[in-house]
């Protein structure tokens, strides 16, 4: 439950392209950390490296350390599959499995982990859906396909799916960018609640959102096209938005570029 993450000297590559240069940061447990920065600055790439989803892309590789409560998830003895079971992820566009019912979507991760007991699965499905503030809306149609829900509901279904396996960390890659303001609000409220149980890292293009939901905020930037992205600064959200330590951060959050 809710572990801390320490990233040390992380370099990320897509083939020969050096995408992220020397990132080190720390994420305390039970906190929300927001990654902000212009497109191409590597914030999503860093996020995806935290549960070893980065290397899924052909040619992509990572150098450096990512410690989950002190254990390096990039150690040669670690199975990426087991890493992804303890670090959940929610994507930019809601991606429930289209051939599965709402209930089966929620328990998909548990099924993969080998849980077969129907009663247990039902119980977890209800818990996770309640946890994602979706239970009241879907409890009468659990057997219907997940694709029939609205975009915002689908995204909460994906959050339910991610938390159903009780991960240590929840990664969110622009979870609201495909949603309308009301659904966005629902997800932001949910993030505030989930913080009690999980460590959350969220990538967002929406700076107001970063200011609303996060405890600390990391600003990434790149020197130019074709240059690797860098972590410019990481600090308490309040400080980043009121009195940032770097000129580039101030320029970005005040809307002077990006």
């Amino acid at each position: 439950m809710a572990k801390r993450i320490d990233v040390k000297d992380l370099n990320l590559y897509y083939g020969k392209f050096h995408a992220v240069d020397q990132v080190s940061l720390a994420v305390p447990p039970h906190s929300v950390t927001a990654f902000i920065g212009p497109s191409g600055c590597g914030k999503s790439t860093v996020l995806r490296s935290l549960n070893r989803m980065h290397e899924v892309i052909p040619g992509a590789r990572a150098e450096g350390k990512v410690l989950l409560d002190g254990e390096d998830i990039y150690a040669s003895t670690v199975d990426p599959v087991s890493v992804r079971r303890t670090i959940g992820m929610v994507f930019q566009r809601p991606n429930p499995f289209p051939t599965m019912s709402i209930r089966d979507n929620v328990v998909a991760g548990l099924r993969l982990a080998g849980e077969k007991n129907k009663g247990k699965l039902d119980e977890v499905a209800e818990q996770a859906l309640r946890g994602a503030n979706l239970w009241a809306e879907v409890k009468d149609r659990l057997a219907k396909p997940g694709g029939g829900l609205s975009g915002g509901q689908q995204q909460r279904l994906c959050i339910a799916r991610a938390i159903a396996v009780r991960p240590d960390v929840l990664l969110m890659d622009e979870p609201c960018s495909a949603l309308d303001p009301i659904s966005t609000l629902a997800i932001e409220d949910l993030i505030g609640e989930l913080k009690k149980d999980y460590t959350i890292v969220i990538v967002t293009h929406n700076m107001q959102q970063a200011a609303r939901v996060s405890d600390q905020c990391a600003f990434f930037n790149l020197a130019g096209v074709g240059q690797p992205g860098r972590l410019i600064e990481l600090d308490d959200t309040e400080k980043i938005f009121s009195n940032p330590g770097q000129k580039a951060t101030e320029d970005y959050i005040s809307g002077r570029f990006g």
């Binding site: 899924v56 992804r84 992820m89 991606n95 499995f97 599965m100 993969l112 396909p145 994906c158 396996v165």
Partner: protein, 353 residues
């Protein structure tokens, strides 16, 4: 045909702007084109351009041609078959004898139909899992550098003429299969499909040999379509499964297979349609026989297509030929039914796409 011209843009724009009250917003009045006050707009004349008209005529013409051709083929088969069917002394659908002597027509299609369906389904049962394996290997497991040339190789199988398959089946595969077929016959002979049939196992001109050759011929068809469908599995679903901690096989099981199932099934049905109509390879491989089909893989016999091909050089009487054409009509309908079935599978799966 003029339905296509229903979108009349200028008219649509006029009704659209009339629907909006002109004075609600200043922007509204700016973008509203000037209108004649009070007068209802007359029917707008849509300018049609010659290029559009010619191209539309060509596409509609092509579309109509294909429908007309299929109908004409059906009508041709019917017209040619009816006189022979009228003179037929056997029950066409249920008799297992074939006597196309114009003086004493007594023919039934049942035996041919059974051999056709039996050999095709046997071929399909072999080809389906193998094709699935190849398609999954090419799209999910093979390194990209290997997948391309390997894919071409599979496609190349489709380009081999069926006469070559026939010769290969008879002169290479049949002798090679002898130990296997003998063993199956010896040990599992009590099961009807492995029982001793009408064909000599030592020579191997059996449905067993023919079915395996057919299966090889089906591989490229089923593989090509399945590969394309599997390749189109949305990466967001694959990543969703990976992020839940799915292994490679679990990703395939939870995303690729459900997504591609309808495509794979319809690919198989297309393959079945191909197998049902395959002629020359079967003509070469299968031993002709006077015995009726006993549902054994080690029977010889004829499919509808090979029976027609065997007799085609001797068509000199319309009555005799009509008997074969009637059989051809059955094949025509059968492939129609199979294709309709494939369509039905796809339609039943639509809500997930």
């Amino acid at each position: 045909m003029s339905d296509f011209a229903k979108v009349e843009r200028p008219a649509a724009r006029e009704t659209g702007s009339r629907g909006a009250p002109p004075n609600t917003a200043p922007e509204g009045t700016i973008t509203t084109p000037p209108q004649k006050p009070g007068g209802a707009p007359g029917p707008a004349k849509v300018p049609t351009r010659p290029g559009d008209r010619i191209f539309k005529a060509m596409t509609v013409g092509s579309g109509v041609t294909i429908v007309v051709m299929i109908v004409l083929i059906g009508v041709f088969l019917l017209i040619q078959a009816i006189p022979s069917l009228a003179d037929n002394e056997s029950n066409f659908l249920f008799s297992r004898d074939w006597n196309a002597d114009p003086a004493a027509l007594a023919f039934g299609v049942l035996d041919l139909l059974l051999v056709t369906v039996f050999s095709s389904i046997f071929a399909l049962l072999i080809a389906m899992p193998v094709s699935l394996g190849i398609a999954l290997f090419l799209t999910q497991y093979a390194p990209k550098r290997l997948a391309k040339p390997f894919g071409y190789l599979v496609d190349l199988l489709a380009a081999v003429p069926s006469i070559i398959y026939g010769l290969w089946g008879l002169y290479e595969l049949a002798p090679a299969l002898r130990p296997i077929s003998t063993w199956l016959n010896d040990t599992l002979g009590f099961i009807p499909i492995f029982a001793t049939g009408s064909s000599n196992l030592a020579i191997g001109q059996t449905i067993f040999t023919a079915g395996i050759v057919l299966a090889v011929m089906l591989l490229p068809i089923i593989t090509a379509i399945s590969r394309e469908v599997f390749d189109r599995t949305p990466s967001m679903h694959i990543e969703g499964a990976l992020a839940l901690g799915a292994t490679k096989w679990e990703v395939v099981k939870t995303t690729v297979l459900p997504f591609g199932r309808a495509g794979y099934m319809s690919a198989s049905m297309l393959g079945l349609g191909r197998a049902l109509g395959e002629t020359i390879a079967l003509l070469i491989i299968l031993a002709s026989t006077t015995q009726t089909f006993s549902f054994s893989l080690f029977d010889g016999g004829d499919t509808i297509a090979s029976k027609i091909a065997r007799a085609a050089s001797e068509f000199n009487d319309p009555k005799g030929a009509g008997a074969y054409i009637a059989a051809g009509l059955v094949l025509f309908v059968l492939t129609f039914v199979v294709n309709a079935f494939a369509r039905w599978i796809i339609a039943g799966h639509k809500e997930y796409e």
